[in-house]
């Protein structure tokens, strides 16, 4: 095994697909004259030219397998992420494929960008392929042909829905299993025995596979708040949020796995802190505070007791130790630690604070809504948090993160079930929360808050205030999950 390269680079065709996908992502975020966009086009051209053979270059998708020039791309751990993303992208636009002619090589940057933007916006249309074809005609783009998928039989449409519910089920299972495995580790590690990591690693590896395919469903499930079981739920949520950040910065699957384990165990040391201190409503005295602040150091210590390879332990030890050290190295443990925090330590610290300040705790008088939490955390950029990672975090969530409770100008309460991640677009997808006869909130209609009045151009519903859902006794995960 030692002789095998850990990660090979992309093949020629994978490289083309990658440059295509990257350019789509970049144009979604940046303006046409942005340096990254220009660089992306250049990469796209180069990889396109390398793959072009004969008169045309065809990309096709069939049963989630990608074919370039009729050659199936190998689906493996290196290409998996890329192929999954691209397959989802094509499926959302009902595309069977794209056929680029030789003339593509002469296309201007503007034309390439126009094509990319058209393609990107097609998923919100009733008939994406027709929209694309019309758009291409209007813009005189004749060097690319849109290949339409054969009409879906009813069964196939159902299978798409099934795919969504399947993903929800994965997330629910993963959440249940990861909680169970963490509880088991926590209980055993206190009994001074060595604890095997097998179950934890298995479930984290599964999560990585699933999260790479769809991280939104995991962001949604991380809104779960359990007051009585805070430490465990918090640990799982932090693991999920950290892995989501990791996915957004393109960590490899193996690094995501490591990040997930680090984050899951970041508060392992808290199992040695008595509940009376963890749940003390009032201010902690000095001795209690000292004991509490030892938890990050103790997390690292307890990790050394886990039964797993030395290498794995060494790789997961540091971030839990660091998670209460701030970006400027203030915070605790109070040591003369002078080294810059590790990437994982910085990620976990963001996920940790976000989950903590958006969780109801008995010692805190107020709870922040997710959007306020992001505002609060942005203020700490460069001091408390890595300034770039905090931006990634905000971009990942959008300004109204999933799980934010909104008060609309209509007087309705709405829960964000899918946030808008697009630049310049703040309005998310939400479900109206209605009280039933028992005074309990239930899920009403799903509304797209980006919808505008055709005549006035005003939003149909405007957001006037945001709340933390628990202040209304709402468990966001329950509703987001059914609405997802």
């Amino acid at each position: 095994m030692a002789n095998l390269p850990k990660y090979r680079s992309y093949t020629l065709y994978e490289n083309f697909l990658h440059s295509f996908y990257s350019l789509l992502q970049t144009t979604r975020i940046h303006k046409d004259d942005h340096k990254l966009v220009t660089a992306g086009i250049s990469k796209f051209y180069d990889s396109f030219a390398s793959c072009m053979q004969g008169e045309s270059l065809t990309i096709k998708i069939s049963n989630d397998h990608f074919f370039i020039q009729d050659k199936q791309l190998s689906y493996n751990r290196i290409s998996k992420n890329l192929i999954d993303n691209m397959a989802r992208y094509f499926n959302a636009r009902e595309l069977e494929g794209l056929k680029f002619s030789l003339a593509s090589r002469e296309a201007s940057n503007e034309a390439i960008l126009a094509f990319m933007r058209l393609l990107d916006s097609a998923d919100q249309r009733q008939n994406p392929v027709a929209f694309l074809q019309t758009g291409l005609n209007l813009k005189n783009i004749d060097w690319v042909e849109v290949l339409k998928k054969p009409e879906k039989p009813q069964e196939d449409k159902l299978s798409t829905l099934k795919g969504k519910s399947e993903r929800r089920e994965w997330a629910r299972k993963d959440y249940t299993y990861i909680s169970a495995s963490f509880k088991e580790v926590a209980q055993k590690v206190t009994s001074k025995g060595r604890v095997g990591m097998r179950k934890t690693v298995r479930v984290i590896q599964d999560m990585v596979t699933h999260l790479i395919e769809d991280d939104e469903v995991y962001s949604a499930i991380s809104t779960l708040r359990v007051f009585d079981d805070y430490t465990f739920t918090h640990s799982v949520n932090v693991a999920i949020l950290s892995m989501c950040i990791g996915k957004h910065i393109n960590l490899s699957p193996r690094s995501l796995e490591r990040l997930g384990i680090c984050a899951l165990f970041h508060d392992l040391g808290k199992i040695e802190v008595p509940d009376r201190i963890l749940n003390k409503p009032g201010k902690l005295d000095d001795a209690e505070l000292k004991l509490l602040e030892e938890h990050s150091l103790n997390s690292a210590r307890l990790i050394t007791k886990l039964r797993t390879s030395r290498d794995r332990k060494a790789k997961i030890l540091l971030p839990p130790f660091e998670h209460h050290l701030k970006y400027n190295l203030s915070g605790y443990p109070y040591t003369n630690w002078k080294k810059p925090l590790t990437l994982f330590g910085r990620i976990i610290s963001i996920a940790d604070v976000y989950d903590a300040i958006t969780s109801p705790r008995i010692y805190r008088k107020t709870i922040m809504s997710p959007d306020r939490a992001l505002g609060f955390m942005l203020d700490g950029a460069g001091k408390d948090f890595d300034p770039i990672l905090i931006k990634v975090f905000i971009n990942m969530f959008g300004v109204y993160p999933v799980g934010t409770l909104l008060k609309l100008n209509s007087g309705e309460l709405a829960l964000v079930i899918s946030s808008s991640r697009m630049k310049g677009e703040k309005a998310p997808l939400a479900c109206i929360m209605e009280k039933d006869i028992n005074g309990r909130y239930k899920q009403g209609a799903t509304v797209n808050l980006a919808e505008r009045d055709a005549e006035t151009g005003d939003y149909m519903r405007e957001i006037i205030e945001t709340y933390h859902p628990s202040t209304f006794g709402i468990q966001p995960a329950e509703h987001i999950f059914s609405g997802y």
């Binding site: 001074k192 960590l251 050394t304 008995i362 107020t366 300004v399 628990s470 468990q475 999950f481």
Partner: protein, 590 residues
């Protein structure tokens, strides 16, 4: 391992999705796979049989992939399938040894071999299977985690959960997210409650939302430079060498521990890390770690924390285990004279280890080709000897002549104290060089040691015998005198004349009047018992020499008598002795 039903015996079902040829080829391939696994279980990885089996398997895959695409095998509880065709059934006799049972145990649903498969991947695959063939209760992983960690490009699996099937899935609707309405919490929310009877309780409204128009989107827009920075961060993280950071964290943790058990368990892990650092040639880091641990050792000298001292000492003792030393030895053997930095760093590290390490270091002295390494090891041994000489003593038990001689520079520099034992041990060493050095040092330290070394009078090495005689001759001693007299009496028939003469000469130099009667008898008496040696010229000559060297009145009288003896042999002995003494320039009264 038993393969109960070879694939050929299993019938091709009527509704098979596989073409007949493909099915046949698949069965053949699976048979080769099962046989290879069988060999792999029976023989070590590097055994010719295992290597051959893997080569056969790789060839079989090459043949298969030349006409067919990727191979996906479904794993059932008791069988292995391709499409709907059963290719192998698990034997009921030894199910636990069957590859299918192992895969099934860990929840593998299917296993896929892809085109491009390499022999290294097959080896890794079998290694992983073998590693997790038997699972302990608290294990670090299993076949699934191993295969995913192994990152085998052309081997894919799909696995299902096998642990938590009985755990009920989380039901969000049953979980209350709110705080319990305790009296205390009610107090906290009271102001908000009064302000807004229906609606948010405890909702923070003082913090600005990220959606607030006053917060510009540019504040959280990621610039191209930041994207590049992110990519760099990821790259750094994925190639991060964490050894230094890990040692630092471990030291912080150790420094903060007040619990003996916790301290000990962290030290256990530190030991594992040390082994890794040696593997990685991270000697500078190791040195820092050892220095810091030593500081910890002396930081808290109170009796209350005496366990800290004991545990750290135990740690350094453990460091000197054969496992660690084997690693160090392997590294030392690779070093050349030009590796100055590494040699110096290793020297420093060795000084921290227990003197028992001398036993491992010694042999390197004769194995290494680098004189710089040899010099460094000698220095380290010399230093370690200051703490405990016993390992060096043990090392000298080794019959290796070369090893003893290599240690000479150290041995000669050993200072007084408890080192005499070592030098006496040296005098028994197979190497004459070592024995002679031992004798030299001992006689310099205390001329009376010669009494203990008397037996070396018979050493096969001439120079050593000379040294012993010289040692004896250095002092007048009744003990030595008696020893010599006894020796001479018991060895009258020795044929080595020079040795006999040397004994008499030594007797003359160390003896006293007490030896005179014996010498008189030897010199003057008749040779009636010559067959025992008495009466021979060489003994008379020796006795004359001894008497001359005794330099007493009685001795002089005897010599005078001898010079006038009517027996030629007596006069001749006298003359020879006197001539020898004259030649050596010593004063005589003969």
């Amino acid at each position: 391992m038993q393969i109960s039903k070879p694939a050929e015996h299993i019938k091709h079902s009527q509704d098979s999705l596989l073409p007949a040829q493909e099915l046949q080829d698949t069965k053949q391939l699976v048979n080769v796979l099962l046989l290879a696994w069988k060999s792999y279980c029976l023989y070590p990885e590097r055994h010719a049989a295992s290597i051959k089996a893997l080569e056969n398997l790789e060839s079989a895959f090459s043949v298969f992939f030349s006409t067919h695409s990727d191979l996906r095998l479904s794993v059932k509880k008791d069988s292995l399938l391709c499409e709907s065709e059963t290719l192998h059934e698990v034997s009921s006799d030894t199910p636990s040894e069957d590859i299918v049972s192992l895969l099934y145990r860990d929840g593998i649903q299917w296993l896929e071999f892809r085109q491009g498969l390499r022999q290294e991947e097959l080896t890794s695959f079998f290694n992983i299977l073998n590693k997790y063939r038997e699972l302990e209760e608290e294990t670090e992983g299993d076949i699934v985690t191993g295969l995913i960690d192994g990152n085998l490009e052309h081997i894919n699996i799909k696995a299902v959960d096998t642990f938590w099937q009985d755990v009920p899935l989380i039901d969000f609707s049953n979980i209350n997210p709110s705080l319990p309405e305790t009296e205390d919490s009610a107090k906290h929310i009271e102001p908000e409650k009064t302000e807004q009877q229906e609606g948010p309780r405890r909702n923070d409204i003082s913090t600005r939302s990220i959606a607030d128009p006053s917060i510009s989107e540019e504040l959280w827009e990621i610039s191209p430079a930041e994207y590049e920075e992110l990519q760099k961060m990821v790259l750094e993280e994925e190639n991060w060498d964490n050894t230094e950071d890990i040692f630092d964290v471990l030291l912080v943790i150790l420094g903060s521990q007040t619990d003996q058990y916790n301290f000990s368990s962290v030290l256990d892990f530190t030991l594992e890390e040390v082994a890794e650092a040696i593997e990685q040639d991270e000697y500078g880091l190791l040195l820092n770690l050892f220095q810091s641990l030593h500081q910890l050792l002396y930081r808290d000298a109170s009796d209350e924390h005496d366990w800290v001292r004991l545990l750290i000492e135990g740690f350094f003792q453990d460091l000197s285990s054969s496992k660690i030393f084997d690693l160090i030895t392997a590294k030392l053997m690779l070093l050349n004279d030009s590796d100055t930095e590494k040699i110096q760093a290793l020297r420093q590290i060795l000084l921290f280890l227990s003197p028992t390490g001398i036993l491992s270091l010694g042999p390197i002295l004769i194995q290494t080709r680098s004189s710089a390494v040899r010099k460094m090891i000698l220095e380290a041994i010399e230093y370690l000897c200051l703490r405990d000489l016993e390992p060096l003593e043990k090392l000298l038990d080794s019959p290796e002549k070369e090893l003893g001689e290599s240690l000479l520079p150290v041995l000669s520099r050993l200072k007084k104290g408890r080192t005499n034992k070592i030098f006496f041990k040296m005098t028994e060493h197979p190497s004459a060089k070592v024995r002679r050095e031992g004798i030299r040092v001992l006689l310099v330290r205390d001329p009376f040691f010669v009494q203990k070394l008397f037996s070396l009078i018979d050493d096969p090495h001439k120079e050593i015998r000379k040294d012993i005689f010289a040692g004896i001759a250095m002092q007048r001693s009744s003990v030595l005198e008696n020893m010599l007299l006894k020796y001479i009496k018991e060895n009258f028939d020795k044929k080595d004349t020079a040795h006999i003469l040397a004994c008499y000469e030594a007797l003359g130099r160390c003896g006293s009047a007490a030896a005179t009667p014996f010498l008189r008898r030897i010199l003057l008496d008749q040779g009636w018992n010559w067959f025992k040696g008495y009466g021979k010229l060489i003994h008379r000559e020796g006795a004359a020499t001894a008497l001359a060297l005794l330099d007493t009145r009685a001795a002089k009288n005897i010599l005078q008598t001898a010079s006038k003896s009517k027996f030629k042999v007596v006069r001749e002995a006298f003359d020879k002795a006197m001539a020898k003494i004259d030649a050596s320039g010593e004063d005589s009264n003969g």
